[in-house]
Assembly symmetry: C2
Homo-oligomer: 334 residues x 2
């Protein structure tokens, strides 16, 4: 049987128990040219919250009564005459929150799970890693010597952004929630400084820890942290708008950055990004990041929780911040 998380009701604010329903259905019967993938891991990402809204966005919203959209990784367990894939192949794609998925392979790609553990392919070698890589290097136009500020710095994207900036010879300040995460950034990931937004006043902390201002701000959170970062821009600074997790569960309007006129004063720019635009270069990026990982220059951290039954509770950790690194749900049952 196949356990599937079905999207039942568009949430207002934070999703509640009515948002999804866990249902058990038959494992799909393969058509000619299809493979059956058994999911091992599901990727949980803040972007999921956006996909639930009935808005025009960079992809259509998840439909009511559809399987909840999610990135995933698993192994081929059955094949009906597929031209490329065979039983045992490890594939990653948009499989959704369910245990099994049938596909003709469109949008999936094969990875070699003998060179790295599976979770890594939906973490630093997957979407979050790609987002960090192209976001900071291409959109952020990172240069050696830049002073880089990153929010959500202990998360899947932010932690990689900061480490790439260190590899490239920059000064890096991370913003995260809680002492443990801040210590982790400085002591384990090599950030130059960290700001605990839960216990520090962000304006005072920026003054202390970025006394010379910032060249690049990589924003995962929006809200007052974005607004504060705008007051510290250096000339020709770049702000990368990757997300706005502080605003995703708003029941009221998104908070606009009232300090945006700093863009004028500092001839700075604020640019949005969506990782899918860089798909053709994922291979090159994964190769470079894989090398950094092998050399010990880039650490990938996954927070893995178990059981598709625990989806709701685990999803909540994205927004409570109660996890470190990439949030992953293991759905393979022993």
């Amino acid at each position: 049987m196949n356990k599937q998380l079905i999207f039942k009701k568009r949430p207002i604010g934070f999703p509640d128990e009515q948002t999804w329903n866990l249902e058990t259905t038959e494992i799909p019967i393969l058509k000619e040219g299809e493979v059956l993938i058994q999911h091992h891991y599901i990727s949980l990402d803040p972007a999921m919250r956006g996909w639930m809204n009935d808005n025009k966005s960079y992809i259509p919203p998840v439909g009511i009564d559809e399987v909840m959209r999610a990135g995933s990784i698993g192994k081929v367990v059955k094949v009906n005459n597929h031209p490329h894939y065979k039983v045992g192949d490890c594939l990653t794609g948009w499989g959704g929150v369910q245990q099994y998925v049938a596909t003709d392979g469109t949008g999936w790609h094969k990875v070699d799970d003998t060179i790295a553990p599976m979770p890594l392919f939906i973490s630093t070698l997957g979407m979050p890693g790609m987002t960090a890589y192209f976001g900071i290097l291409e959109v952020g136009k990172l240069k050696e010597g830049d002073i880089v500020l990153v929010s959500g710095a202990a998360g899947a994207v932010g932690s990689v952004v900061g480490q790439i900036a260190k590899i490239k010879g920059c000064t890096v300040i991370g913003i995260a929630g809680g002492k443990e995460k801040c210590d982790y950034l400085v002591n384990e990931l090599g950030f130059d400084a960290a700001i605990d937004y839960k216990s520090e006043d962000i304006y005072t902390a920026l003054k202390e820890k970025c006394p010379k201002g910032i060249d690049v701000y990589f924003d995962n959170v929006g809200g007052e942290i974005l607004n504060a970062a705008l007051t510290k821009l250096r000339m020709h600074a770049r702000i990368v708008i990757c997300g706005a997790i502080s605003q995703y569960n708003n029941k009221v309007k998104v908070q606009g950055p009232s300090n945006y006129l700093s863009l004028l004063v500092k001839r700075a720019s604020m640019q949005g990004m969506v990782v899918m635009d860089y798909a053709k270069d994922y291979g090159k990026a994964a190769q470079e990041m894989g090398m950094w990982i092998a050399q010990g220059k880039l650490k990938s951290k996954e927070a893995i929780f178990e059981g598709i039954e625990n989806f709701y509770e685990t999803y909540g950790r994205l927004f409570s911040g109660d996890k470190k690194g990439k949030l992953i749900l293991k759905v393979l049952e022993d």
Copy 2:
């Protein structure tokens, strides 16, 4: 004697009668290497409001008891051994709101007032024209076929932005206040459409007049118009932040654009500019714009009011919108 407008008190909100004082002093005595310029025209610009605030910005604020800062144009009436300038030369620079100014020439440059009337050199061939030229071409990265939206479209900068975009083969929609200005944009300046923000709902009007969205938004006003423009961005759109006249007299916080996450959805950018950065290329731009004017492709409109005594009332027109084109004060007395 020299009539000077002295800055007396930093305003909160819109300047009042205590903000400035008109004083009469001796005409300055020239030092060795100086010239005396008799002002003919003073440039009145929305940016003046920003210069009155005691904030860090792209230039220092005007000091209390100093002559109010302003661009100006006039003629040399006296010389004390100046290496380049002679009596009768026409010079433009930052002379301030006063009738006479003594200078060694730093920051001034000579123009040929036999080829164009003096006001044009502080209008389309001066700062506002340069702002429009570099703003739309360099910061806005204008391409043939782009759909361009410009606010403050009947103003000194906006009217030139729109006309340059037409010259470059774009579709241009202007936003201005009142039917007369909107008719002027379409009938006299060749804009494709105009939106009267005073009588139309901006969201509805944008839906009607920019049905395909916009590639470039040139923003002079900020506030709800910027926020509305953000909802109409096409992929890879560019927003040029040139000013925010709707917010300059705020007594409360600037309104941040709550729709800024459209930048992410549309992979768009928002970039600030200050015209002084392009100073080394002013000559080239003035030459090209002068050619367009001569060919009848670019119209320059000046709204000229008379008398330094009427500064306060005339300055108010910048914000009430009660003028068309570049606002200029004639301070030469007959």
